[in-house]
């Protein structure tokens, strides 16, 4: 099976300053992957390499069977949907609906199919009511959802999202989670750059941990969050649920709310709860 994304010994430097060094990994269809690491670890650089805005200084980035060196970003957009950290800069149309429709239309999707995709993306993120509004009339969190809807509407084989939940409230986070789960179930691979380890623990499976431009870990998130002090050396801290599970020595090191709750209930049944 061809990997959806494969990085082979990839390095990148901004002039003299190395941002990524010898990074290799491959993602399979439908995988839900978190890309985590401290500020300046190289996460956003990696994203720019995947969408073709940067070309590797050494090594190869393959999107399916396309080498990003020989493809322009607009060609890669047929396979990769992206949400940048400052999503505002991704919005330019006069209405949310037009903005979301831009990607499918620009990548040659028929008008009928495009309209259906736009409707699905708007519904998934609860944006139907503001579809006719100018994106810049919306508060920043909704603008981010609008930009995300544009990426979803591409229905690509790979979604690369930079901090999709930052600044979102609980309901919006739940919508994003459900929309991403829906895409993953349809076969889209998710690569989510996030500092929100709680969101990652709850909704993603595999963790790629970057430290100072190198891939320090590639492991299931439940193993990654159990790294403790090693995690802190790389700017991360286990989220509260993971800390609670560790403190109570819950069997199986659960990291998702439902599993932690089940463990908590059994501890409570043994102890007296005040």
């Amino acid at each position: 099976m061809t990997a959806v994304l494969e990085l082979a010994a990839v390095s990148f430097a901004y002039g003299e300053r190395a941002a990524l060094t010898d990074v290799s990994f491959a993602l399979q269809p439908g995988e839900r992957v978190a890309l985590v690491g401290h500020n300046g670890a190289g996460k956003s650089t990696l994203m720019r390499l995947v969408v073709g805005l940067l070309k590797p200084t050494a090594g190869t980035v393959l999107v399916g069977d396309w080498d990003t060196r020989s493809r322009r970003p607009e060609q890669l957009a047929h396979r990769v949907g992206s949400l940048f950290q400052h999503a505002d800069q991704q919005l330019f149309a006069r209405t949310v609906r037009e903005d979301v429709a831009f990607g499918p239309r620009a990548t040659g999707v028929s008008a009928v199919d495009s309209a259906a995709r736009v409707a699905r993306a708007l519904e998934a993120l609860g944006l139907e009511a503001v579809a006719g509004e100018h994106p810049y009339d919306l508060p920043p969190p909704e603008r981010k959802l609008a930009a995300l809807a544009g990426a979803l509407a591409l229905e690509p084989s790979l979604l690369v999202l930079d901090e999709p939940t930052a600044g979102l409230d609980r309901r919006a986070r739940e919508r994003v989670a459900a929309a991403l789960a829906g895409r993953a179930a349809a076969g889209t691979t998710l690569l989510v750059i996030t500092h929100d380890l709680e969101f990652a623990a709850e909704h993603l499976e595999r963790g790629l941990l970057l430290g100072h431009g190198r891939l320090a870990q590639d492991a299931p998130l439940s193993d990654l969050l159990a790294l403790g002090s090693r995690l802190e050396d790389l700017g991360l801290a286990p989220p509260p649920l993971s800390r609670l599970a560790t403190a109570l020595s819950l069997p199986g090191r659960p990291i998702r709310a439902r599993e932690v709750a089940a463990g908590l209930a059994s501890v409570a049944a043994r102890n007296r709860v005040s």
């Binding site: 500020n39 300046g40 969190p141 409230d169 989220p239 509260p240 609670l244 439902r258 409570a268």
Partner: protein, 262 residues
């Protein structure tokens, strides 16, 4: 003693908007306290900060009724810090010095204040860097340094850790506590209720522009109504406690949960 910030019966409407973003809001900030502002998108938290920071309606336009009183200087960190760069500085040092220089301070006071601010947000090593070359997390801290360098009496923060990795975020929350201990009054709007729970003295929960609840952090965050579909929720520990069907009120932190299970 005069409150560093007081909003009295404030109602505010953005230009070209029919309904007010903030309604009949009354709030008095105490010196040395951290007030957390929570609410779902559109609840009015960011607007409250723009009003407190004298950007609304002075810069944004719109209509204000009621009064906003400030004793001293208020400074605001926007949730979009990259829009707060002066565009006038080639180094981080000059960027952070931009605010103090515009206050007309003598050179020695400016550089002392800039150095202190850079150290406080853990970025003295970025001193000579071009501000436009910074990562998102570095930039957020540099902009915060620029604000602290102006030595405000009231610090207004809108999602101050959105761009930061978890450890850098933790340091900012600790810094906020330190600043409050030094006497600064801090208003912080955030969706990170886990962090707020350890940082804020009081919490204002906004809903549709009005105060739904205002009180001590540990009282507001255990409100069952916070779990309603349209409400901001509570801490992740409170949520999992409730999911497990354990007795109310829920603990808010890991330490409190362990205490309850003992």
């Amino acid at each position: 003693m005069t409150a560093p910030l007081a909003l009295r019966s404030v109602t505010y409407r953005y230009p070209a908007s029919r309904s007010p973003a903030v309604r009949d809001l009354t709030l008095e900030l105490r010196r040395g306290e951290v007030l957390g502002v929570i609410g779902s998108v559109g609840a009015g938290a960011s607007t409250l900060l723009l009003l407190a920071g004298d950007l609304a309606p002075r810069v944004t336009g719109g209509e204000l009724t009621g009064t906003v009183e400030r004793a001293g200087r208020a400074a605001l960190l926007l949730p979009t810090p990259w829009t707060q760069l002066s565009g006038m500085a080639f180094t981080v040092f000059d960027e952070v010095a931009f605010g103090p220089a515009n206050l007309g301070w003598p050179r020695e006071r400016i550089s002392a204040s800039v150095e202190r601010a850079l150290t406080r947000v853990d970025v003295p090593h970025l001193r000579e860097r071009d501000p436009t070359s910074l990562s998102g997390g570095e930039l957020q801290r540099v902009i915060l340094a620029g604000i602290l360098a102006m030595e405000p009496d009231v610090l207004l923060l809108d999602e101050p850790t959105a761009e930061l990795d978890p450890l850098a975020a933790r340091r900012i929350w600790e810094l906020i506590r330190t600043l409050a201990q030094d006497g600064m009054a801090v208003v912080v709007a955030t969706s990170d209720l886990d962090a707020l729970c350890d940082t804020a003295d009081r919490i204002a929960w906004l809903e549709q522009g009005a105060v739904r609840a205002l009180g001590a952090t540990r009282e507001v965050l255990v409100e069952p109504a916070l779990t309603a579909d349209t409400a901001p929720g509570s801490t992740s520990i409170a949520a999992v406690w409730r999911l497990a069907g354990l007795p109310e009120p829920p603990p808010l932190t890991v330490a409190q949960a362990l205490e309850r299970l003992r």
